[in-house]
């Protein structure tokens, strides 16, 4: 063990890096939630309320929409997590002394963000209403009537947003650990040496190693989805075919990572440790447990180099939101880039030579 520098290094690095990372990353309070506003009233009253939303620090008025469809698109694509909609007669209703309705749409496919956004929106409504009531006696009810509508997972069922995410984690973990350990095992046992003296081409060898794992990944996903649907009644709102197609890039990216690790690891033990070292940030930073919106900038950027981050968008998007490829182009391209870079690197590094 004293001689195994890599293991020793990992033992020290693991708590150091991971704790530092997560000490900073784990913020359950989500601020600056990207918000889209569709203000049909364009009045002093609507602006007052919006200012209150903005001033709370929880909502960033990132987009202004000019139609319901636009709001839908923003939230479907994940660009905005919250939509605030003022009806055209908002100001007139309030001036008459009645309650003006405001719709607050919340993307509930991400539970933690949704819960917080809903609570904050409600309390802003109450607070602002009280302020107005103190100045004017003409109201019968609260002037601002905030109607929060959680989308995609209206009942906030934990399993609905957890099952797809856990599926992603299981797949990436299995792929990374199995490939890295599998290849290192072949090297340790000498079968790899026996393989590379045959006329098989580098890329053929790679394909031979990768294809079985891809099949395995799909098998896992199928089992996990079946459990999700049959036992937890997770609705699959989007196209299953699309989900399967887009999953390919996630599997290949994970395999690429596994092969890369196998190039560095000297023993199966090390391969396992490294896989673990790489997987932990995936679990904690990808938005699986903690909302990425709440992370400090540096860590947020770190989370953009984790394949799982993109896959969570894809699988939650297709399963819960029922959206399709057009909304997920960015994520798919990112995974594709990961796959191409990682696999090319490993094929180049794997030159049918030893040492």
């Amino acid at each position: 063990m004293r001689r195994d520098r890599m293991t020793l290094g990992l033992i020290f690095m693991l708590p150091l890096v991971q704790l530092l990372l997560f000490g900073y990353a784990i913020q359950t309070e989500v601020k600056h939630i990207p918000t889209v506003v569709f203000d049909q009233s364009l009045s002093v009253e609507s602006r007052d309320l919006l200012d209150a939303f903005g001033a709370s620090g929880y909502f960033d008025m990132t987009y202004a929409a000019s139609s319901y469809t636009e709001v839908n698109q923003m939230i479907d694509s994940g660009a905005a997590k919250v939509g605030i909609i003022f009806p055209p007669d908002f100001a007139r209703v309030i001036q008459r002394g009645e309650s003006g309705q405001v719709q607050v749409i919340v993307d509930a496919s991400d539970n933690m963000v949704a819960n917080q956004a809903m609570a904050v929106a409600n309390s802003i409504g109450l607070l602002q209403s009280q302020k107005v009531l103190l100045q004017s006696k003409q109201f019968k009810g609260p002037p601002y009537d905030i109607r929060v509508r959680p989308w995609y997972n209206p009942d906030g069922i934990t399993a609905f947003y957890m099952v797809p995410a856990i599926l992603g984690i299981i797949v990436t973990m299995t792929m990374v650990i199995m490939t890295s350990m599998g290849i290192v095992r072949e090297r340790e046992r000498g079968t790899l040496e026996q393989l590379i003296v045959t006329p098989i081409k580098s890329y053929e060898l790679m394909i031979g190693k990768i294809v079985p794992y891809i099949a395995l990944g799909y098998l896992q996903i199928t089992v996990a989805l079946l459990v999700g649907v049959l036992i937890f009644h997770v609705p699959i709102r989007g196209s299953l075919l699309e989900l399967y197609l887009l999953t390919l890039f996630f599997i290949t990216a994970s395999l690429g990572l596994g092969i890369l690790i196998s190039n560095i690891a000297k023993s199966q033990m090390q391969a396992f440790q490294m896989s673990f070292f790489v997987m932990l940030p995936s679990i904690l930073l990808s938005g699986f447990m903690f909302p990425r919106e709440a992370m400090p900038k540096v860590i947020y950027y770190l989370s953009t180099i984790i394949p799982l981050t993109y896959y969570l968008d894809i699988i939650r998007g297709i399963v819960l939101k029922g959206i399709g490829f057009p909304y997920l182009v960015g994520q798919v391209v990112s995974l594709l880039v990961f796959s191409v870079v990682l696999l090319t690197l490993s094929i180049l590094k794997f030159k049918k030579k030893i040492a």
Partner: protein
């Protein structure tokens, strides 16, 4: 093709350690070429280079007429290699392992079955073809690994310590197969630590610390390597005497062979002196390959 393998000052350096040092040798087609040397002398390293899976640091080599720099893929198609730990897939059956390698060497599909059967016959595995390799014992595994290495009917096979860890009967059986292969025209390069196996070879190359010390037929090596006179001593306390005898000015080497001592004298004329010193008769003998091995290893 005059030679199956030629190397010219082939060298491999790891860091600042030279594992193979300016190795120059020729192997004729159809020869059984023995590659002998102490542990760590660079045998495996040299063979790996010849198989095209390890880049030489300097020097050149041709295998079956193909240049090692740039034509490794042509070489790989025509050679067989059995690595030091015969590495089969434990979770496949004997026949599946053979089938797998038949596929890797692009043996036409319709021919595969007969080829696999041929190898099973050769290895004496007929009837056990569906057993998992994990359940086979050493000798069977070894012959199966050879089958995987020669299923493509290579013109040359490199066997790296193919008989380590198997019983004498299995070793004998294995070398019978090798002799048959060679008589059919296959060139065989084999490393071994067993002197009886070395006797099977047409040529023996001896390397030590990466350097080629001697190449010749086993008989010639026995005759020529030891300059001096080798005698056998039957001393009651051979072990205690070993150091004293080594100190004698006219003794070049002294080693234990069972209960006997082998002493290499500068010259036949020293015979009397030694008998006088030890008090037992010194019997001149023809050196064995083992004597040659030890003498060459100590030279370095």
């Amino acid at each position: 093709m005059e030679y199956a393998v030629t190397t010219d000052r082939l060298t491999r350096v790891f860091g600042n350690f030279t594992a193979v040092d300016q190795l120059t040798l020729q192997i004729k087609p159809g020869e059984i070429y023995g590659f002998l040397g102490p542990n760590g002398s660079g045998k495996t390293t040299a063979i790996r280079m010849l198989c095209g899976i390890l880049e030489p640091t300097s020097g050149t080599a041709t295998v079956l007429g193909y240049d090692l720099s740039g034509e490794t893929e042509q070489i790989k198609r025509r050679i067989g290699y059995m690595s030091q730990k015969f590495s089969l897939y434990d979770d496949l059956t004997a026949a599946e392992n053979l089938g797998f390698y038949a596929g890797l060497y692009n043996i036409p599909r319709r021919e595969r079955k007969s080829r696999v059967q041929e190898m099973l016959d050769m290895a004496g595995l007929t009837g056990r073809e569906d057993e998992l390799v994990a359940h086979l014992s050493g000798g069977w595994k070894q012959r199966l690994a050879l089958g995987c290495a020669i299923i493509s009917r290579p013109a040359i096979v490199f066997l790296d310590e193919p008989t380590s860890g198997v019983s004498p009967t299995s070793r004998r059986r294995f070398f019978n197969i090798i002799s048959r292969l060679a008589s059919e025209g296959t060139t065989v390069m084999v490393t071994t630590h067993f002197m009886d196996e070395a006797e099977y070879c047409n040529k023996i190359a001896f390397i030590s610390s990466g350097r080629l010390m001697a190449v010749d037929t086993p008989d010639n090596l026995k005759q020529n390597v030891l300059a001096g006179c080798l005698v056998e001593l039957d001393l009651p306390n051979a072990m205690d005497q070993l150091e004293n005898i080594e100190q004698l000015p006219y003794v070049k080497e002294c080693s234990v062979h069972g209960l006997l001592l082998h002493v290499l004298l500068e010259d036949e004329s020293n015979l009397g002196l030694l008998e006088e010193y030890t008090g037992v008769p010194a019997k001149p003998i023809t050196p064995s390959l083992e004597d040659v091995f030890i003498a060459l290893a100590n030279k370095n």
